[in-house]
């Protein structure tokens, strides 16, 4: 299905967030996920189904002032 990941459209096979992270080779351990502008807690990554057109933001810590 077609979804938007970090602002870019992608064709993905995964149907859930944890599978999406694996499919896109995210290997780090410190992520936060927003699904359609709402935070999706880590405890729900395995159970939340993805829908075509979903907007997913994959966020990590970075330098800031």
């Amino acid at each position: 299905m077609r979804v938007t990941v970090n602002g870019e459209q992608r064709e993905i096979a995964a149907t859930r967030i944890d599978a999406l992270l694996s499919e896109l080779a995210y290997e780090g351990s410190h992520f936060a996920i927003a699904l359609n502008f709402d935070v999706l807690p880590k405890s729900r990554w395995a159970e939340t189904p993805l829908q075509p057109g979903d907007e997913i933001e994959i966020i990590t810590p970075r330098q800031g002032g």
Partner: protein, 262 residues
């Protein structure tokens, strides 16, 4: 010297420091240690597929054993800021957020209307908000009314190094909000600027660029620490009021040739 409290947590350091713009990760760590800072600001950004940038940065911060204050830098709407704050809470496990809602790309002037709105939403949701605002008393009062126990007015635009542009405005905020932790955030360029903020009775300063972009960030971090300590010590010691006329410091009585002076 006394400690400073942010939302009931006490700290001995009154210098909050940013983690961006340093020449290297090692210099960032050394500068933060030299500053003696106990609170550092961090941000959240998108991670590219396969990337580990966030993990690498996060392990550097964890080595420092400091309290993390995530920001919402770059957010231009209430919705973006609120969602970013919630992501920060999820990622860092803290209710603290340095709330930025930016109105203008060139000046990085806060959108104070959006800021008050976002602060109210986040505080109702259990956040402890550190709002980055201007020196406007009305705005600061609205933030306090919304539940902010910390208010962070700018000295000057972010990264400008101009120091305190509106000294009277900052003094008024201090006078009118005696029970709120006030932090001068943004625009400081020199340790003397930081000292001035503390001399005004501000509880702390937050800065990044002036240290990170110095020729020697580690030495500059130490200089800012000393400036902050000097300013706070002077405030607690009680600064004299300025006056319009001279007042001799050397005793007048017994001046030689006194009888000859008309």
């Amino acid at each position: 010297m006394s400690t400073v409290k942010f939302y009931d947590r006490a700290f001995s350091s009154r210098l909050l420091i940013g983690t961006a713009l340093y020449p290297s990760p090692k210099i960032m760590q050394d500068a933060i240690r030299a500053a003696g800072s106990q609170i550092v600001t961090v941000s959240l950004r998108r991670e590219a597929a396969g990337g580990k940038t966030g993990d690498a940065f996060w392990s550097l911060i964890r080595e420092l054993d400091v309290t993390v204050l995530p920001n919402t830098a770059g957010c231009r709407t209430v919705r973006e800021a609120v969602t970013t704050a919630k992501l920060a809470r999820e990622l860092f496990g803290t209710p603290w957020v340095k709330l930025e809602v930016i109105a203008d790309n060139d000046t990085l002037q806060p959108d104070v209307v959006g800021l008050v709105e976002a602060a109210a939403i986040l505080i109702k949701d259990g956040f402890e908000v550190f709002p980055y605002c201007t020196d406007d008393l009305g705005v600061a009062q609205r933030l306090v009314d919304a539940g902010c126990r910390v208010v962070m007015p700018w000295a000057a635009p972010i990264g400008s190094a101009k120091g305190i542009v509106n000294r009277d405005g900052l003094r008024l905020l201090r006078d009118r909000l005696p029970d709120i932790a006030l932090v001068v955030d943004a625009g400081l360029g020199a340790p003397s600027h930081a000292a001035q903020a503390l001399e005004l009775g501000y509880d702390a300063v937050l800065l990044n660029t002036a240290i990170a972009k110095a020729d020697d960030p580690v030495a500059m971090a130490k200089a800012f620490r000393l400036g902050v300590e000097a300013g706070r010590m002077a405030f607690e010691a009680g600064l004299m009021e300025a006056r319009d006329f001279a007042s001799p410091s050397t005793p007048v009585v017994g001046t030689p040739f006194w009888h000859a002076i008309s």
